[in-house]
């Protein structure tokens, strides 16, 4: 098994809010191995974005982060701002849903990529600009030498996301975190961007963390997947196993709620996610779970091996033999 380039252990993130402390992430573990695509899936408020913002040291001061984030042998939690600055963009890059907010409207896109290159590498302006053009070409922007001299507003949404990817991979990072990179895009453009992400991963061996709410996107490109609910990992494993025999009731519920060919009636998950100001004491999913028992709402279930998955459900074996849904 390849070694992890990014290893997140027992990450907990608490925000101080006017109405009290809110723990958005409650002891999450994520491992990202070199060159793989890890999908992180969950609904709004599951803590999937906050986990990686915390890992990158991008959360505001009112967020209290504990646990460990080790990237390429370096601990990032509690690291100095100077170390974090040298890591971000060089070893670990992140792209977001809205590419326009990641670009400076008054600078040419080529210059913005140059800035990224020169922040971490000693390079002449000329070499850097040539490299920027090369990067634009890699992410599939036609006529990159012309386009490098244009401003963000002259690009379409899909092209802007390509520019942002070019910036993110400029210094050949070990890990690229992509937070809902295609959510704002049309489905035909989404297909193009996912292809660019896969090409980057295959060409440069960059590990990719793909945060999304879309199980279809995970099924298309990810190698392994982490399912998050109420700030916890509820299930993880290889994409093939997870879709083949999902074991956590939340994962099953999520898959069953998708419209599919030949299904007469959809199966929603009843209820709604817990208020994270006062999360349930036991399993976060227990209040909505059709299989919950007394014990489920008493202790937080840890992740444990079940078949070839890791599942945080105390009833995984029983439910699997019962063939429950």
């Amino acid at each position: 098994m390849a070694e992890s380039v990014l290893s997140i252990r027992d990450l907990t993130v608490t925000f101080n809010t006017p109405v009290g402390p809110l723990t958005a992430v409650r002891g999450v573990d994520v491992d990202v191995r070199a060159g793989e695509i890890v999908g992180v899936v969950g609904e709004s408020g599951s803590g999937k974005s906050v986990t990686f913002l915390a890992a990158m040291g991008l959360l505001p001061k009112r967020a209290h982060v504990t646990g460990s984030v080790v990237l390429d042998g370096q601990e990032l939690i509690g690291a100095s701002p100077k170390l974090l600055r040298s890591v971000r963009g060089r070893l670990l890059s992140m792209i977001f849903q809205d590419p326009l907010s990641a670009l400076n409207p008054v600078h040419r896109v080529g210059d913005q990529i140059v800035e990224m290159l020169k922040a971490h590498q000693k390079m002449s302006q000329k070499t850097a600009f040539a490299k920027a053009i090369e990067l634009l070409d890699i992410v599939g922007i036609p006529q990159p030498d012309e386009r490098a001299k244009q401003y963000p507003h002259e690009f379409s949404g899909g092209m802007r996301q390509r520019v942002v990817i070019a910036m993110a991979i400029a210094n050949n990072p070990k890990v690229l975190v992509a937070d809902e990179p295609t959510t704002a895009l049309d489905v035909t453009v989404q297909a193009q961007i996912l292809e660019v992400v896969q090409r980057v991963q295959q060409t440069f061996g960059t590990a990719v963390v793909l945060i999304t709410h879309d199980l279809g996107v995970i099924a298309r490109v990810a190698d392994r997947v982490n399912v998050m609910y109420a700030g916890r990992n509820v299930e993880k494993g290889s994409v093939a196993s997870l879709f083949e025999h999902p074991s956590h009731p939340y994962t099953r519920g999520l898959l069953a709620s998708l419209p599919q060919e030949g299904i007469e009636r959809l199966q929603p998950i009843s209820g709604f996610p817990p208020n994270m100001l006062a999360p349930p004491p036991g399993c976060g999913f227990a209040p909505r779970c059709p299989h919950a028992q007394q014990a489920c709402s008493e202790v937080l279930p840890p992740l444990r091996g079940f078949l070839d998955l890791e599942t945080a459900c105390i009833r995984a074996e029983e439910l699997s033999t019962e063939g429950a849904n």
Partner: protein
């Protein structure tokens, strides 16, 4: 057989963009909807799918005359809407309602849920005490009748969408335009709302125009589907024909771009990768509007606009070189 509930013919909507910068004055026209025609039977659901800029939302708003069509006609149960004055239109709207995408923006935060749901009665001048009716509507959409006294901020996105639906149902309409009604919701919540639409239609028999970019939801709920691209319908017909035997290259590409939550199918199927983005509706391509992204385009596609033609599988599509 009775006449269809809704008959739309040659609907066109152009928006003018005025640019008065400096000494240059130019007038540009956004051709949001160009020559759209369809009919909707009673009790049926028409799904309208398309990417951003396809004009699907504009069609929905033109149906209720929330925006005034540039030309073309919308005939609702025998009434040509374009000939009606404001007052006549207001009365007819009792029978046509709309549910919007954003359940946070479509409810007045300062009105109780009950007051929001009862507002259509006031607008339509129906006097009396509506508490009982409101309670009934809340139950119909799967909420509790005592929720009427609460305010929108006390509800989740899915519950708010249910409130919006209750409001649309208040006057027992014959037609509801659903404009991306589940797009803002998480999938586990979305399923419940989609089921609710199905149940309500079975019970009350109204027709839906379901506008969405999510093809799998539309497949689940619609009887007929219209695929729009840059203001035009490129393919329209019975759902199974369109999904199982797409004849327009755009429909085919769109279907192949939608990710399926099954890694085995997803990784083995052939994907059609369209190049580039949707062109601007200000200056759409000549001939077939899809030709700039179509892998089958030839000289003919540039010079001549294809008409909607009935295909062997029953649907109509507008393409010179249809898929078979």
């Amino acid at each position: 057989m009775s006449s269809p509930l809704l008959q739309v013919s040659s609907l066109v909507k152009h928006f003018e963009l005025r640019k008065n910068t400096g000494i240059r004055k130019s007038k540009r026209i956004v051709q949001a909807v160009s020559d759209v025609s369809f009919t909707l039977e009673r009790g049926h659901t028409l799904g309208i799918v398309g990417e951003s800029g396809s004009g699907k939302t504009t069609v929905g708003r033109c149906l209720l005359r929330l925006i005034e069509p540039t030309s073309g006609s919308v005939i609702f149960d025998g009434n040509d809407l374009s000939g009606l004055d404001f007052e006549e239109m207001r009365i007819l709207r009792r029978r046509m309602q709309i549910v919007f995408q954003d359940p946070f923006a479509s409810l007045d935060p300062k009105m109780t849920v009950g007051a929001s749901i009862a507002e259509p009665f006031t607008v339509q001048g129906i006097s009396g005490n509506h508490d009982e009716k409101v309670a009934e509507l809340l139950q119909l959409v799967g909420l509790a009748s005592d929720h009427a006294k609460r305010f929108p901020h006390e509800f989740s996105g899915g519950q708010r969408q249910r409130i919006g639906i209750a409001r649309a149902l208040a006057l027992e309409p014959d037609l509801i335009v659903l404009d991306e009604p589940v797009s803002a919701l998480d999938v586990s919540i979305q399923a419940g709302i989609v089921n609710l639409f199905g149940d309500l239609q079975k019970r009350l028999g109204m027709s839906y125009v379901f506008i969405a970019h999510d093809l799998s939801v539309v497949r689940h709920i619609a009887d007929e589907v219209a695929v729009m691209y840059l203001g035009k319908i490129v393919e329209i017909g019975a759902k199974d024909a369109v999904y199982d035997h797409p004849t327009h290259p755009y429909t085919k590409a769109l279907l192949s771009a939608v990710p399926i939550a099954n890694p085995t199918t997803e990784r083995s199927r052939k994907r059609i990768m369209l190049e580039g983005d949707v062109p601007s509706p200000v200056n759409p391509p000549s001939g077939c509007r899809f030709r700039t992204r179509c892998w089958k385009a030839q000289a003919l596609c540039e010079t001549s606009e294809p008409a909607l033609i009935v295909r062997p599988t029953g649907q109509m599509s507008a393409c010179h070189f249809p898929e078979s």
